[in-house]
């Protein structure tokens, strides 16, 4: 039986740092089992929004609910219980430099599961295989390229088979070919895992390929939020301006052939 209630819900979320208003009344519901991308120019509060979703930041007012738990009033124990249902890929991978690739990916399992070391190893090898880095358990993190770091970060994010995976700029700082690889990886994982994805990005080309829904943040407000094809046809000037920089936009409802996709 499928449950269509939103996995994550933000209700009238406000956040400011000093005089700077970063989030100004955000209402957003992330549907389960689909990929929602949050886009917008740099410095519009995308990462701040993501940090609210995992409870790393608390809103000044408003509510953030994940799996029915209000994170603004949750105890630390409740917050940690919710976080165990999440996986997150950080912008730079956020890998622990003192550990090998395998130890990094195994870390969440060792902290929270009662799996035997052999089972942990097997699970980690599976995930490393999935992200295209087989037989890299012993490799030092310092030996990895930027793209490989992200892929290891991705393996760590999914190693516990979480219900929601969050991506903070999964392709920023990567060359176009590696960005394509990461986007393909996200699509493959979506097909394999069937989990809810939330992607923060300003790479509109990649976003269109992977997202079912797109929301756009601008100056702390959610200026548009719709299914991807409808979003691309949006007439809102700021959305048009943002999209036109990177895409050949469809002119009408039937014209979707110009959308970038993996053939």
């Amino acid at each position: 039986m499928s449950d269509s209630r939103p996995t994550i819900e933000l209700l009238d979320v406000h956040k400011r740092f000093g005089d700077l208003v970063v989030l100004d009344g955000i209402d957003l519901a992330i549907p389960p089992g689909e990929t929602t991308a949050i886009i917008g120019p740099s410095g519009t509060g995308k990462s701040v929004l993501l940090k609210h979703i995992v409870g790393l930041l608390q809103p000044d007012s408003g509510r953030v609910c994940c799996f029915g738990t209000d994170l603004t009033t949750a105890t630390e124990r409740q917050l940690y219980a919710v976080r165990q249902r999440f996986g997150m890929l950080f912008q730079g991978g956020a890998l622990f430099d003192s550990m090998s690739v395998g130890e990094n990916v195994a870390f969440p399992l060792e902290q929270h599961s009662k799996l035997s070391p052999a089972k942990v190893r097997q699970r980690v090898e599976e995930k490393l295989d999935l992200v295209g880095l087989p037989d890299t358990w012993d490799r030092a993190v310092s030996q990895l390229s930027g793209g490989q770091r992200k892929r290891v970060g991705l393996a760590r994010a999914i190693v516990t088979d979480p219900e929601v995976v969050l991506f903070d700029e999964p392709t920023s700082g990567l060359d176009p070919l590696t960005s394509d690889q990461i986007d393909r990886l996200i699509l493959t994982m979506k097909a394999h895992l069937g989990v809810t994805f939330v992607v923060i990005s300003h790479d509109i080309v990649g976003t269109v390929r992977i997202a079912d829904h797109i929301a756009m943040l601008h100056e702390g407000k959610l200026v548009a939020w719709d299914r991807t094809p409808a979003f691309l046809r949006s007439e809102i000037p700021i959305v048009r301006a943002f999209l036109q920089r990177n895409l050949v936009l469809p002119s009408g409802p039937d014209d979707v052939a110009t959308l970038p996709s993996f053939g």
């Binding site: 790393l56 940690y80 976080r83 430099d97 969440p108």
Partner: protein
Amino acid sequence: MSGLRTALASGTRQVGAFSWFVLDFTRAALRYGPPRGQVMREAWRIGIASLPILLTISAFVGTNLALQGFNAFRPLGGGRLVGMFVSLAGVRELAPMIAAAMVAAKAGTEMASQIAVMRIGEQVDALEVMAVNPYAYLVTPRLLGILLVLPALTIISIFFMVLSGYLVSVHQLGLNGSVFLHFASQGIAAVDFLYGALKAMYFGLVICTVSCFFGFTCQRGPEGVGQATNRAVVVSAVVCVCSNYFISEILYGGLS
């Protein structure tokens, strides 16, 4: 004047932030406990990192105590008191301070810079998101490690100070070795070693909490890491040296 006011306001803010940090850390330490196997690893790392430099410094402090003691007491006819001077100054004051200073310089700066790099590299956030309390994971093992190892380093420092003082007194200054050792043992009691160890544990507490605090509150960028490291060692040293007076007053003040 406005510069002074800004500095005072910033200092007050830092003290407030440090108090919150200690409170949060204490709560986390009591709730979660240290991660498996990390305490001994940290103790070993702190000990090994600080040992060579501590041995060198302790040996040369001992030599100078012997020289200065000899020069000070000889005109008064008390050259024999060199042993007592070396052991008294070394055991009660210098060994705990020097062990603490070396650990602050080596292990304290390492703690601050490691945690600062983790903070700006989002690794601390990653711990949080993986439902691992960063205070319990990063600070608790370092604190327990330093509490275990700093008293041991202090005892080693005492031994090297007295040994080097003995060698200089006997081989350079021509004093009788047995007399040196006799007076050295007269200057101190077994309780002094306990007090030295207690002082060392207090200094360890200061060094670890201060260094980890500056690591956790690091500003973004490489400059932030340098600043955190610098502040960790400066503040640890100032707090240890200043509070040492009050601790000595509590431990030894009643003797006067």
